[in-house]
């Protein structure tokens, strides 16, 4: 009766097309962003129009002079203008009766800092697009500076350790929650250790973007920026989920749901000892970060309980 048993879909079942990216792209060894780009492209399909900015992904996505490392239609713009540029494209396509899926693909610096206003504006207007934030918790392309996605305690080049400093003194913005509060059709978190979960969310986002704004916040470690071994990116993603540091959830048409429930969450020290930028944290500091993580998780659970 093996054939009658319902097989759970695997990642490759979601793929729409061959990899649209060239081999040997200009990203670091073990870069989670590269996997993210190729994955988004394969699940959403080669026809989607990508919109991006100067960032780590820019050398690959923008291309150079007349050549690029991929086959997607692509619109590069200023960091302040991703969601607004995507609006210009989608509104024109709407007017001209052209069917298209426009996907913004930016880092946390653009989404959460300098491009935050325009993202919030597009969400409020419920513009028909998918916005994917690959959150590597800082400005990695410019040399590992802190952003509002950088967690408490992290050492970056603008929150360095020193006699008078123990790293970043404030918490990261809870960005996916902020976008969820715009009451857009679809918001989700995802990461690269849980690809089936991510793929399902991309499919949902693509459908939701026909009606309005869809947002996916992707936890995306950076090998040199976080000082982790080049073979550890996926392991870090997995531990971030298992410690509830980065819970996987979605809000679909007002219904909140944790999509990957962790039975016995590991202590946060499992993550901080793996990640170089957090390894200096002492017991009290880890406890403080743990308290932030626990608080945010309880807020999420409460929302899921109330509106699940």
């Amino acid at each position: 009766m093996a054939e009658a048993r319902k097989r759970r879909p695997r990642v490759c079942d979601y793929y729409q097309n061959e990899d649209q990216f060239a081999r040997g792209v200009a990203l670091c060894a073990g870069c989670a962003l590269e996997l993210n780009l190729r994955f988004v492209s394969r699940v959403l399909g080669k026809d989607v129009i990508l919109v991006g900015t100067p960032s780590c992904s820019a050398p690959v996505l923008h291309g150079q002079n007349t050549k690029a490392w991929h086959r997607h239609p692509y619109y590069a713009c200023v960091m302040t203008g991703v969601a607004s540029s995507a609006t210009g494209l989608t509104r024109y396509y709407e007017k001209a009766g052209i069917e298209a899926t426009v996907v913004c693909h930016t880092g946390d610096g653009c989404a959460m800092d300098v491009g935050f206003q325009t993202l919030s504006g597009a969400a409020e207007r419920n513009e028909k697009m998918i916005y994917i934030t690959y959150d590597n918790e800082g400005y990695m392309n410019t040399g590992i500076q802190q952003s509002s996605g950088t967690p408490y305690g992290a050492a970056t080049t603008t929150t360095p350790l020193g006699q008078a400093s123990r790293g970043k003194s404030t918490a990261a913005k809870n960005m996916p929650m902020i976008v969820a509060m715009h009451d857009v059709p679809y918001v989700a978190t995802a990461t690269l250790s849980h690809l089936e979960d991510y793929a399902k969310k991309l499919v949902k986002a693509k459908a939701a973007a026909k009606e309005g704004f869809a947002y996916i916040h992707v936890f995306c470690p950076c090998v040199p920026g976080w000082r982790i071994p080049s073979d550890a990116s996926i392991q870090v993603c997995r531990v971030a989920v298992r410690t509830n540091y980065f819970p996987l959830w979605e809000k679909e048409q007002g219904v909140w749901r944790i999509t990957y429930k962790v039975r016995d969450p590991q202590p946060l020290s499992e993550l901080t000892r793996l990640v170089g930028k957090l390894r200096h944290l002492d017991e009290d500091e880890v406890a403080r970060l743990q308290a932030q993580v626990d608080y945010r998780y309880r807020v999420l659970e409460a929302l899921c309980a109330a509106f699940g």
Partner: protein, 396 residues
């Protein structure tokens, strides 16, 4: 306001004239953020849209930076797009303006001139437009409500012309023109369609569409960058003759013309000249007439095209005069004079060494009065008589 798309004559404000012109050109996408003294343009277009006269996507953006990015992307996808701003809004879209120009995106934008941030003057002044002169946009400056309407229509022809492909900004003085109501001849939409029709027969630029392996905004490195910059520069130079060409066609269809890059007023036998732009030109004409009646051979040059700078035509008209005065409604830090004056002084090799006087007037809504312009002309006359003169004069 009762709206009609047939030819009509109405008493409307400068802002309404800009909105009417934009509507008549059938933009696919309009995105704009309100700011004094431009707000009426945004409101008027929203009303046209709400009433079904204007069939476009109207994007109520959350700031001017987004407005600029929306219209830039819309034109790169193949649409016609319009936005309007002023002062703080203009400088808030500064990075995006470089982007629009660099993409050669044929956006048309109205900028209602107002003093920029710092000393918070909610007042007229051309400093905003001067501050963006190196972004690579075509910049026109107009004098009255009719010229606002006509120039916005011409701006779409100019921006989208296949030989140009550049964003065009139409500037007019806030307060003096934005809220001034004048009788304006509004063309019918069918006539405007006919005027813009030639664009459809031109080769079509590449568009960003789904399913194509095309990119927009590649890294230009080394020679790739230089090539695009040189092409942009060459397109800028072509604007000068193209503007005069499309204005001839406009004149043939609508019966109005403005001289193309510059308009000369009583310059033929003039020994001295005053150069200025914007709403001050009307006052200056009256004073020139009065001074002529007194026997002073003075002429007026109205600058319509600020970027590209009409070097050739200005050199021609300025050459052989005894003295030249330039009236600016803005200042040029670091040169201690007016910006137009500074640029006109750079024509000295072509014009010859004659006294050149800079007049700074009309900052922050101060009226450029007939008396002020009379004083300017007296000063130019005196300098022409080889008497000592002040190079820069702030009025009053």
């Amino acid at each position: 306001m009762a709206v009609s798309l047939d030819r009509q004559r109405k008493v409307i404000t400068g802002n309404a004239a800009a909105a009417y012109a934009a509507m008549l050109c059938r933009p696919d996408v309009v995105a704009a953020y309100p700011i004094t003294p431009q707000s009426e343009v945004v409101e008027q277009l929203a009303k046209f849209h709400a009433d079904g006269w204007l069939d476009c996507e109207y994007v109520t953006v959350e700031g001017e930076n987004s407005a600029q990015n929306v219209v830039c992307a819309a034109t790169m996808a193949g649409g016609r797009a319009f936005t309007a701003t002023s002062s703080y809004g203009l400088v808030y879209m500064y990075d995006a303006m470089f982007n629009t120009a660099g993409y050669r995106a044929p956006v048309v934008m109205v900028n209602v001139n107002r003093e920029p941030p710092g000393i918070h003057a909610v007042c007229a002044g051309q400093q905003d437009m001067i501050s963006v002169r190196d972004t690579g946009w075509v910049q026109l400056v107009v004098e009255n409500c009719q010229e606002i309407l006509d120039t916005v229509i011409m701006a779409f022809r100019l921006a989208e012309d296949f030989e140009i492909q550049l964003p065009v900004m139409v500037n007019y003085d806030g307060y003096y023109l934005s809220f001034l109501a004048e009788s304006v001849d509004i063309p019918g939409i069918a006539e405007v369609d006919r005027y813009l029709e030639v664009l459809k027969s031109q080769p079509r630029r590449p568009r960003l569409l789904p399913g194509q392996a095309v990119g927009c905004g590649s890294h230009g490195i080394g020679t790739g960058y230089v090539e695009l910059r040189k092409k942009h520069m060459a397109a800028m130079e072509r604007v000068k003759s193209k503007l005069e060409e499309i204005e001839e066609e406009f004149a043939a269809m609508f019966g109005r013309k403005y001289g193309g890059q510059i308009e000369e007023y009583r310059t033929d036998d003039a020994e001295i000249l005053l150069v200025t732009s914007g709403s001050a030109v009307g006052t200056a004409r009256t004073v020139i007439d009065a001074k002529r009646a007194e026997g002073i051979n003075v002429g007026l040059v109205k600058l319509r095209l600020f970027r590209p700078f009409p070097r050739e035509r200005l050199s021609e008209v300025l050459r052989g005069r005894k003295a030249i005065g330039v009236l600016d409604r803005s200042i040029c830090f670091g040169w201690d004079c007016g910006p137009l004056y500074m640029e006109i002084r750079a024509l000295t090799p072509e014009v010859g060494i004659v006294p050149m006087l800079s007049f700074i007037d009309g900052l922050a809504n101060m009226d450029i009065t007939k008396e002020h312009i009379g004083q300017m002309i007296d000063a130019i006359v005196s300098a022409a008589q080889k008497k000592s003169y002040r190079q820069v004069t702030w009025l009053p």
